[in-house]
Symmetry: C2
């Protein structure tokens, strides 16, 4: 079979109307996706998207058009080999490379196209993506990764060793995942724009739905943060985790001071305290606020940045995003680096389509790289946004993501939703 | 006066025909610019561009159109205040920020638009940009900088102190610059695609033109690099500096080994040994190959990255680029950080329009932040490409850039060149 064409879409939801998604840095996001469907001569299709927050989605679509065009005419008869080969073909453009490399609009679009290939492959083999990934041999997984710029920390041979070492118990963990689902935490109650009454109500609902951790946005006003955290802690009691998320609001000295002023509320972690590019800044913050953990990664540009964060002690929680780095392949590199350095992977989700896509990666990480049959410390973010636009929406039962069972990567959107929310410039 | 409109252009030169510009990572660049002219109701205009290497220039133009549109209708009556105000207006878009932040296509386009504002301002005050900058008061320079994410290392008050401390001798240095020009080194002889005969001829010409340093591309084949370096050293003798440039070809361990294998040829520096994002990797290389210096920065994405490179000992030579970070304003931040950390600023040039734009920044650095009336160790890169397309082309006399005397930033292209090389998709 061959990839014979593609269709790209600019889909935008008017979420800024409700302030869902509002935080210290992103006051008025319109959750959007640049979406792509790869089509084949067999009638099979693969779907992928990258998440954006409104203006500029058209740029990601323009790059998707450039990159997906490279796949047209390519054979896809051997999914495992083709998933190692074709993402390199997509990314390897010496002239486009100048515009990055491997960051920004180019890389966001790469993620959409690469993830569409993985959706296609998982459908062809008839497995949900997490299971397809877990069934790959260590050498096959390692072949998916572009090792360039990583070998000072991890190379293919050591990565195979790492995967081999974690293989015992893989089936037991897969069975546990299917039976139990994967634990989640919810960001739903904590958006900055919400009133106390709304936050309190949503915190109660989160507990009722079985979530063991919630997350609150902070960083706009310290007194207000303290007030909201005190209220939230009162509502949820001592046993529910509370993480806070500053969305890059602070400089390094300010982050340290601010976190020290709210640490008494027993924080699960502090997320995005400063610029997502600042490895050394995060390392300084992590050292100063220990034992509170620093979390970041949703705007981490590529594997080279994650390599540094993970080896410098700058990241105590590794928040991979399904579609900011170059798709599944680059996330495999990051998951391996996190396993090597012992940092838990707790993905960024919410947005539009992020939960659907990234749940598979967290589940693969648990099944293939978990060291025991327990979810201890493992979580996936949950926010209750826009799942209704997906053919197989991510689902929460008792505070856990239900393991997808349908073939594919859960990335397909409903045709009706695309039609209704297609952006018209 | 008001900014009343703008015109953007996608201009591409077929340089891949000749292999000028070929290196280990960029085998076939077509030197290009995304160009913008801001127009005003007074009839004055400002010109800026960002440099690209072919495909993808249209993306930078699309972002220029988004960003320049924000300036239409803005007043420009007080250039010094407006140059602090308007670049923030251009960059501050909470939805577009998600696509970076401050990196990639978005930031390349920001540079073009911001630099056009500086060209307009310098024309209005009737000074070449370097002189306009040097005449600003320390507090005015500091007001141009977005200090967000920098204050753990340098804050506005300390930056003013630094500028005040270096002010004595400013006029003496300006006079020396005008009389002597600013020393340059040339990359002309060293492109990977050149034959031995062509390299030897160009090395001879470089010496004849008064250059005290040349640069050779390396990183494709070690035996070949050793052979070419031996030949080059034989041609230029012991007194001419030879820098080498790997254009990101290596992983960290490979870089260390490779450089140790060529260090005997007395290297002025090793440029871009690995990923431009890898602060810690560069720091490891710098430590291992000392006293050979590590140079990087032409693909450094923003001030947060430079802050880390400069404070981690990861960069012994700071190679700012005129239009990859957010234009003059962000380069002022980087120049101040380099002055603070004592790392020489030796800009990246060549390309198309980079020499014209960046010479002003190096000259400002010397005049405003030099600590003595000597160019000791100060250089600007030179490559003999495409200068003929500029109204006021950068010029070399006796191995030195001639200090521009015409008002503006030297960024205006000839209308005929734009017409002739305008890209038609």
């Amino acid at each position: 079979m061959r990839i014979t064409g593609f269709q790209s879409e600019d889909v935008r939801f008017p979420t800024s109307d409700t302030l869902a998604g509002s935080d210290a840095t992103n006051p008025d996001p319109d959750y959007s996706v640049a979406y792509v469907t790869l089509t084949t001569d067999s009638g099979d299709a693969g779907h992928g998207s990258t998440f954006t927050i409104g203006r500029g989605t058209e740029l990601c679509v323009a790059v998707i058009d450039l990159l997906a065009a490279k796949l047209v005419g390519e054979s896809f008869d051997d999914p495992v080999a083709d998933l190692a080969r074709l993402p390199r073909l997509v990314a390897a453009d010496s002239q486009l490379r100048w515009l990055g490399p491997e960051k920004g609009v180019l890389h966001l679009a790469t993620a959409a196209v690469v993830n569409a290939l993985w959706d296609l492959a998982a459908r062809l083999v008839g497995k949900p993506l997490w299971r397809f990934l877990a069934d790959l041999q260590p050498a096959e997984i390692v072949a998916m990764v572009d090792w360039r710029y990583l070998t000072d920390v991890l190379d293919p041979a050591r990565a195979v060793e790492l995967l081999e070492k974690r293989r015992p118990g893989l089936e037991e963990r897969a069975a546990l995942l299917v039976a139990n689902g994967h634990p989640a935490y919810t960001t739903e109650p904590g958006w900055l724009g919400y009133s106390d009454a709304k936050m309190t109500r949503l915190l109660g609902e989160a507990i009722d739905r079985g979530f063991g951790q919630v997350k609150l946005k902070v960083g706009h006003d310290l007194a207000e943060d303290r007030r909201r955290l005190a209220l939230a802690r009162e509502v949820v009691g001592p046993d529910i985790g509370i993480a806070v998320d500053a969305n890059q609001a602070w400089d390094v000295p300010e982050a340290i001071e601010w976190v020290r002023s709210i640490a008494e509320f027993d924080l699960a972690w502090v997320e995005e305290p400063t610029s997502p590019d600042d490895v050394l800044g995060h390392a300084a913050i992590a050292e100063a606020i220990s034992p509170v953990r620093v979390a970041t990664g949703e705007m981490g540009q590529n594997r080279v940045l994650f390599k540094q964060f993970l080896t410098a002690g700058a990241m105590g929680v590794c928040q991979i995003d399904a579609c900011r780095v170059g798709g599944v392949n680059e996330n495999l590199a990051i998951i391996l680096l996190a396993a090597l350095t012992g940092v838990p992977v707790i993905p960024h989700a919410g947005g539009c389509g992020l939960s659907e896509a990234v749940q598979h990666l967290a589940m693969f990480d648990f099944v293939a790289l978990g060291s025991e049959a327990s979810f201890d410390g493992r979580l996936i973010e949950w926010a209750d946004h826009l799942h209704e636009h997906f053919v197989e929406p991510a689902a929460i039962v008792d505070g856990c993501y239900v393991a997808p069972s349908a073939p594919g990567a859960s990335t397909e959107m409903l045709a009706g939703s695309i039609r209704q929310y297609r952006h018209r410039p």
